[in-house]
């Protein structure tokens, strides 16, 4: 007959072993991912990766396209996102509209990115066809729009969270000095939260730089790299799109791994910068 204490000990041992086991599985799986990414990606890395286009064995068209579309998308997302997040944190109070907007923002945040790309394609096609220029449906601007739409909810969330973290004493001090609410927000609150806002922007940038599905129906792809800003009106390549088209051919699979490595490194670096900034800001 087993004592209760023995039962409890056995339960605990099983649990502890399971936790170690879970950690081991997770570490093995994630390490395998890490290793295959770095091993395969580095072996394809060379100077020509940054100087030649995908048809010549490099990734220049993808790199420049990704950078341009993400940057353009972020401009859009930062403007809308910071303003909306400010409204939620500062002006909405406990209003019903505020609750709706927060919920809808969460919905957008979790919405499958492919549906956003689908919607962007539909609207671009509809508008451009009505205007008589359907051939511009697939363009870098469409891609940037889709990416921007994906980034907006992230920026809204982080902005609201960051602004809510600012002590109300700051606001009260500003109002006491006679500043209008808008001035308080812009000159005081935004300024003191700027590290957090920047981190939110970086997080959003990291997230959209790896997105593939929304670009399938918007940017489509291009063998040539963009040379001037106006090239964004044409079809544009992007690193995730290149991965999607290169990974299946033995001749180009190592290039696909290199592209995956570049995206992952960019995401890691941006995340690390964000963390460093957040840590510094907290001091």
């Amino acid at each position: 007959m087993m004592s209760r204490a023995a039962n409890r000990r056995i339960a605990n041992t099983i649990f502890t072993v399971s936790c170690y086991f879970a950690a081991m599985i997770a570490v093995v799986a994630l390490a395998s991912l890490f290793v295959s990414l770095f091993w395969n990606g580095f072996s394809g890395l060379s100077l020509s990766t940054f100087t030649k286009d995908s048809q010549q064995g490099g990734l220049l068209n993808g790199i420049l396209g990704s950078l341009a579309m993400c940057a353009l998308g972020m401009v859009f997302a930062l403007i809308i996102g910071i303003l909306a997040g400010t409204w939620l944190a500062e002006y909405s109070g406990t209003s019903k509209l505020g609750q709706y907007v927060r919920f809808m923002n969460d919905v957008l945040l979790s919405a499958p990115s492919i549906l956003i790309g689908l919607a962007v394609y539909t609207y671009f096609y509809m508008v451009l066809k009505a205007a008589g220029y359907p051939q511009y449906t697939y363009s870098g601007i469409a891609g940037a729009t889709a990416l921007g739409l994906l980034a907006v909810p992230i920026v809204v969330r982080t902005t609201e969270d960051m602004l809510n973290l600012q002590p109300s004493a700051l606001r009260e001090a500003g109002v006491a000095l006679g500043a209008s609410r808008g001035l308080v927000i812009r000159q005081i609150i935004w300024r003191s939260a700027r590290t957090g806002l920047l981190t939110g922007g970086l997080l959003a940038f990291a997230r959209i730089s790896g997105e593939t599905a929304p670009l399938l129906f918007t940017a489509l792809g291009n063998d040539a790299h963009i040379t001037k800003l106006s090239d964004l009106g044409d079809k544009v390549s992007a690193l995730p799109l290149l991965i999607n088209s290169l990974y299946q051919l033995p001749d180009s699979v190592s290039l696909a791994w290199t592209a995956a490595l570049l995206i992952s490194l960019a995401v890691l670096v941006v995340n690390i910068i964000g963390r460093v900034l957040a840590a510094r800001g907290a001091r």
Binding site: N12, L88, P112, I114, L118, S180, G182, G210
Partner: protein
């Protein structure tokens, strides 16, 4: 004294005039913020509108049958979304089934059992891995995991087992592109995110509470089960729901390894498709009723994600007693 008062008075006058002047800028700024917030609603309405309008012909043509039929016949223009819907729900459910216990286990390991020296670096690495794009997981699944399962598990077993026996049928199916591989890849993909959320939640439990439990003589298992998890269960539900939402909508990680057929999978190792993978594969060429069917499936996916989120909110709010 009078000079100070006079100075303050003139300062206040200047301030007052600034406030009067500033009221234009003030309402403009507020309007801008409000417009941006309302724009979010417009955005969502726009996405839903595009899906609804685009998908309507399919709902109109096929009615309820669209949800239960798995026919996908381009020749005769008859489409049914049952296969992809089932695939979406099945991959998400199985991946959650795998990832949830793993995430809890890893989080508990990092908080309770791991030597402090290792815990911080491992946690940082896991947090960073949460940001790796899904297409990288897809590549790993396609080049590393799927062949592993195919060559070391599936093919030897199906060759050795009786094809009509239970286990023979269980492992029968398609190597390299099936429900099991896709679900595991999804699970590995949502694992870092859920682990870091759970870990943060567990770290947020006040040490006084933990120490009290240990002080009463609880084993670590009992501390976690009876004290920590109930303390953070709201956050855990939220984190799980977000993970589920991500799993439902994932495209690239799944498309590479799911097999891309429209049928119901006959077993765990059979090929199938998800709504997202079907749209990714066939949108470029679809027109007419097929396009409407794809968009209709997109709407269904959107509604499923919406429902999961609403459910999470409800659960979280109801627990706030």
């Amino acid at each position: 004294m009078t000079a100070v008062v006079a100075e303050t008075a003139s300062d206040m006058q200047v301030q007052a005039s600034r406030i009067v002047r500033g009221s234009w800028g003030e309402s403009l700024f507020r309007a801008a913020c409000l417009s941006a917030a309302t724009f979010l609603l417009v955005l969502l309405a726009g996405v839903m509108g595009a899906l609804l309008v685009g998908g309507w012909p399919a709902f109109h043509q096929f009615g309820f049958g669209f949800f239960v039929s798995s026919t996908w016949d381009t020749n005769n223009d008859v489409y049914g979304a049952a296969g992809p819907i089932f695939g979406t729900l099945a991959t998400a459910a199985i991946s959650l089934f795998i990832a949830l216990p793993l995430a809890i286990g890893v989080a508990v390991f990092l908080v309770e059992f791991c030597p402090k020296v290792l815990a911080q670096p491992i946690s940082t690495v896991i947090d960073l891995l949460a940001g790796i794009p899904s297409i990288v997981y897809g590549m790993w699944g396609f080049f590393v995991f799927a062949p592993l399962v195919a060559n070391y598990i599936q093919t030897p077993l199906t060759s050795a087992l009786n094809p009509d026996g239970f286990w023979g049928k269980f492992f029968a199916g398609v190597p390299n592109g099936n429900l099991f591989v896709a679900s595991v890849v999804l699970a590995i993909m949502i694992l870092p995110y859920m682990t870091s959320v759970f870990r943060e939640l567990m770290l947020s439990v006040p040490s006084a509470v933990r120490e009290a439990a240990y002080g009463l003589g609880c084993t670590p298992f009992e501390v976690v089960r009876s004290v920590m998890i109930p303390f953070v269960q709201r956050g855990m539900i939220g984190g799980t729901m977000l993970g589920l939402g991500r799993a439902l909508g994932e495209t690239m990680a799944v498309t590479f390894v799911i097999g891309n057929t429209h049928n119901f999978p006959k077993g765990l190792f059979d090929a199938t498709s998800t709504i997202a993978s079907t749209i990714a594969n066939e949108f470029a060429e679809a027109s007419g009723l097929k396009l409407a069917s794809l968009i209709a499936m997109g709407l269904i996916l959107f509604l499923i994600t919406f429902a999961v989120l609403a459910l999470a909110r409800m659960l979280l709010n109801s627990n706030k007693s």
